[in-house]
């Protein structure tokens, strides 16, 4: 079965540093990969989407890479701020029936200290 792995341990970094989160997957070749942010007690919020033919995608301080050979996506936040503290989820589109079905990783909690 498809498996998505994200670091279960929290990532602690200092303000101003670059945070790098990892998403690894097995047994699937997704056409798209999405990243979401989830704050405690709230629903996830979409951040970025990257296609299989895109190596890198940027949005303001966010950057996502997608290596289909390694079956890995990296999510970077540059010049991190305490407000970036949240759980970040990656999701793969398992759309093999013509209907969008996302499978989510368990998420990595990011803590940015002032």
């Amino acid at each position: 079965s498809q498996k998505i792995e994200q670091n279960s341990e929290a990532l602690n970094i200092q303000e101003g540093k670059t945070a790098t989160l990892t998403c690894n997957y097995t047994n699937y070749s997704p056409a798209y990969l999405q990243w979401y942010r989830q704050d405690p007690g709230r629903g996830p919020v979409f951040l970025l989407l990257i296609r299989e033919n895109e190596k890198e995608k940027r949005k303001e301080r966010l950057k996502v890479t997608f290596d289909t050979t390694l079956k890995q996506s990296l999510f970077h936040i540059t010049a991190s701020q305490p407000a970036d503290s949240a759980t970040y989820l990656c999701a793969l589109d398992m759309m093999n029936t013509g209907f969008q079905k996302l499978v989510f990783g368990t998420g990595t909690r990011l803590l940015v200290s002032p």
Partner: protein, 114 residues
């Protein structure tokens, strides 16, 4: 603009009691709707999805059921709750079917079964 509502926000129920969670979407037509559950320390688990009124697909066999009586209303139910039903229930919608379409999540319902 589109908004998604869920209620109640929190719920404490005894084992064996019934359940009804409601999700409504405003500002869009014919959305595809999803129910997810997020247990403590685990990722989002897709429970049900619906492409239209009365059309429900189940992802995980369990004692939960879903219904879509109106285009923008999605209901999650159970006749008898189990302890394992505790979790954070999220409703989401997406307009398109493509993998590039992002999902928009509601605020969630925190369910505790005692």
């Amino acid at each position: 603009s589109q908004t998604i509502h869920q209620w109640p926000a929190t719920l404490v129920q005894p084992v064996g009691s019934p359940l009804s969670l409601e999700c409504t979407v405003e500002g869009t037509s014919n959305p595809n709707l999803y129910w997810y559950r997020q247990a403590a320390g685990r990722g989002l688990q897709l429970l049900f999805y619906s492409v239209g009124i009365g059309q429900i697909s189940s992802e995980v066999p369990q004692n939960l059921s879903a219904s879509r009586p109106q285009d923008r209303q999605f209901i999650l139910s159970s006749k008898k709750l189990l302890l394992s039903d505790s979790g954070f229930y999220l409703c989401a919608w997406v307009v398109g079917l493509a993998g590039t379409d992002t999902q928009y999540f509601g605020p969630g319902t925190r369910l505790t079964v005692l």
